[in-house]
Symmetry: C2
Subunit: 343 residues, 2 copies
DNA sequence: CTGAAAGCGCTTACAG
DNA sequence: CTGAAAGCGCTTACAG
C-alpha cells in the first residue's frame, strides 16, 4: 500500500488537491506549468490514485463482473481471456461470479452479489444472457450490462457470432464432401443461439434441394454428456448417418467419444464436426473439424462496449463491419474428423 | 443501487449512525432493545451496507484476487470453482487476473494490478506461487497472499496436495499390474510439484527393488503439447515402455493423442495415466486413469485461509488432518486407459 | 450502553 | 486557470 495520497501531492506541489485531481483526471483548464509541476511531484512521490476514494465519491466502483455458468469450459476460458485483456487495458477490475443456471434462487443470488460488490456493470454469458427474469431484475435495479449472444432477444446491447451462417457453411462443407445422411445435434432450447444454428443447418439443406430427415435431428444441451447421449441415439438409426454436426464442440467431443465406444471409425465411417473451435478440438483424436468463432475477440468487444458505456464514452470508430454490427463471422477449420463418406 | 444509507437508518430508528454501525457489524455493547429497533428499520428500508464506504474507512477492500496463468485449463477451472464457493459464502469479491508467466515485466504488471484494484489479498497458482521475485515484491508491498502448492519453498502460507504420495501410489498401481517398463513425463522444472511427483515415482520403483531406466524419464512442462512431444520420444524407444505416467492429466491427454497417432492401442499395448483428475480425463477415449486431487477443496481452503487471515480471524477447528496440514491426499481413479501389459 | 467529532481519499458543485 | 467547502458512506478513537 503506497499510502501517499492526493493531499501529500497537493502539499508538496503547493497547489490545492482539486488541482491535483484535475491533473490525474486529465481535465482541461490546468496551466501547463501547474500540470508539469504536479506531474513531477506525482512521479517523485510515486503517487497512485486510490480507486476506493474515487469510487465512493463518484458512486462508481471501477469494476465489472462476469456472470457465467459453465456449459462449455473451453468456451468460457477463451471468452474470459478476451474480457480480461480489455479490462487490463482499460484499468478495470473483473469480478467473477459463478452461477448455476438451474438454481431456483438464481436471480436473488445475483442481486445479492451486485449489492455486495457494487460492480458497475455486468457481462452476461449464455444461457444467462437469455434469461428474461434476470434481465428484468437488472433493468429494475438500473444495472448496466451487456449480453453475449444474439441480438434480437432481450434488452440491452449484445455481442455475438453469426450462428446460422456458421451452421450453414459447415453443412455446405459436409454436402460438398457428398454426405447425404447428415445428422444434427441441437443446443439447449433456452439459448437463442441454438435456434440460430438450427436454422442455418436447415437452410443449407433446403438450398441444396434436400429435405431434412427429422429423425436425424436430436436434442442436445450444449454439454459433453448430451453429445454422448445424442450420438447414442443417432448411431443406432438405420441407415446410420455418415456425418454428425453438433451445435457446439463440447457436444461434438461427446459424439466422438460415443463413436469410439461403438468401434465406429472416425472419419472413415463417420464424419464429426462442431462449432466454436475451443481448445479441446485439438486435444482429442482425431482433431475435430470446427467453425472457429472469434471467442476472445467477442469477449474483448463486449467488455469494451460495457466499459465505454459506463464511462459515457462513445465507441471508437469501428475498424471492421463486424465491429460495427457486433456480430462476428466464423471460419471453417478443417481437421481430421471429416472426410467424404464411404461408398 | 438501493441508495439507502446508514444515515437514513439512523434517522428513522432515532439513534446515531455509530449505533447502526455497531448493529450491522455485530458488535457487543448494544442493548437488545436498540438492536431490535435498528434491525427492524434495516429490514423495513432494505438497507445494505455500501462496501465502498466501509472499504475506504477501514482501508480494506473486501475483495481478493486470483492470479493465474494457464498451464492446465481444466485444473484452473476446478480451482476457481472452489475459490468462488468460499468467496461467495464469505461475501468476498473475487478479482481475476490472467498473467503470462513468461512475460519479462510480469512482476511489474502484477504490482500495477494491485495498485489499481486494491485487492486485500492474493491467491497464487503455480507456477506463479513458486516465483521468488514475485513473492519478494508482495512481501515488500506487504500484500497478503496464499500459495497453491508445496509448503517448504517460498514465504507465506500454502495449500497443496501430496504429489509424491500421488505418484508413489500410481506407480505402485502400475507395478501391481505387472508393468516393468514404466515411463515418466516430468512437469515443469520451475514448479516444486514436479519434483515432488518425480520423487514419488522414483521411490515406488526403488521400494519395489527396481532401478529407474533414465531413458524413460523425459522432460515435460505440464502442457498438452509437451505431453505429445514427450510421448513421441518415449514411444520410439526400444523396448517401448508398456506404461506412461505423466505428472499431470493435461500431458497424459497429449500422450494419449500421440499413441493414437502412432496406431498404438490404449490400453492393450500401452497404459497411460496422469495426475489431477480434471474433466478432460472423462472426455477423451479411452477415459484416463488418474489420481484425483481434491482441486476444488484446495481452492476453497486457500480462499478461506486467506480471508480469515485478512479478517484477523482464527481458522475454524480443523475437521480432518488434511485441513490441519493443508496438504491433501489423492485418490486413485481407475478408468479405461490402464491394464496389465501384453505378454 | 450510546453518541459527537473527525477522518478514510477522492470528487462535485460553486465561487472567484 | 485555481481553490475552499461540502460530501460520498462508512469507521475509528474518544468521551460520557
Amino acid at each position: 500500500m503506497s499510502s501517499v495520497t492526493i493531499n501529500d501531492v497537493a502539499r508538496q506541489a503547493g497547489v490545492s488537491k482539486k488541482t491535483v485531481s484535475r491533473v490525474i483526471n486529465n481535465e482541461a483548464n490546468v496551466s501547463v506549468d501547474t500540470r508539469d509541476k504536479v506531474m513531477a511531484v506525482i512521479n517523485e512521490l510515486g503517487f497512485k490514485r486510490n480507486p476506493l476514494g474515487m469510487a465512493l465519491a463518484k458512486n462508481r466502483s471501477l469494476f465489472i463482473a462476469l456472470l457465467a455458468d459453465n456449459p462449455s469450459p473451453g468456451y468460457l476460458q477463451k471468452l474470459q481471456k478476451g474480457i480480461l485483456q480489455c479490462c487490463s487495458e482499460e484499468h478495470m477490475g473483473l469480478f467473477l461470479y459463478d452461477c448455476s443456471y438451474r438454481s431456483p434462487t438464481l436471480v436473488h443470488e445475483i442481486e445479492e452479489f451486485i449489492d455486495n460488490t457494487l460492480a458497475d456493470g455486468l457481462i452476461l454469458v449464455p444461457p444467462l444472457s437469455d434469461k428474461q427474469d434476470l434481465l428484468d431484475m437488472l433493468d429494475r435495479k438500473n444495472v448496466c450490462y451487456i449480453r453475449i449472444g444474439p441480438k434480437d432477444q432481450g434488452s440491452g446491447d449484445s455481442v455475438g457470432f453469426n450462428g446460422s451462417k456458421a451452421a450453414f457453411e459447415m453443412t455446405n462443407y459436409l454436402l460438398q464432401l457428398q454426405h447425404t445422411d447428415i445428422a444434427f445435434v441441437l443446443g439447449h432450447p433456452d439459448q437463442q443461439s441454438s435456434h440460430r444454428v438450427e436454422k442455418g443447418f436447415r437452410q443449407a439443406l433446403h438450398d441444396a434441394g434436400k429435405t431434412v430427415n427429422e429423425t436425424l435431428v436430436v436434442q442436445g444441451y450444449y454439454t459433453y454428456q448430451s453429445g454422448v447421449d445424442a450420438a447414442g441415439v443417432l448411431l443406432s438409426r438405420t441407415p446410420r448417418p455418415t456425418a454428425i454436426l453438433a451445435a457446439n464442440d463440447e457436444m461434438a467431443v461427446g459424439v466422438l467419444y460415443a463413436a469410439h465406444s461403438l468401434g465406429i471409425k472416425v472419419p472413415e465411417e463417420l464424419s464429426i464436426c462442431g462449432i466454436d473451435d475451443i481448445s479441446i478440438t485439438t486435444k482429442v483424436w482425431p482433431n475435430l473439424t470446427s467453425m472457429r468463432q472469434p471467442i476472445a475477440t467477442i469477449g474483448y468487444r463486449a467488455a469494451l462496449l460495457l466499459i465505454n458505456k459506463l464511462q459515457g464514452k462513445p465507441m471508437p470508430e469501428p475498424l471492421t463491419p463486424e465491429d460495427q454490427s457486433n456480430i462476428y463471422d466464423c471460419e471453417l477449420i478443417v481437421r481430421d474428423s471429416t472426410c467424404p463418406p464411404a461408398r
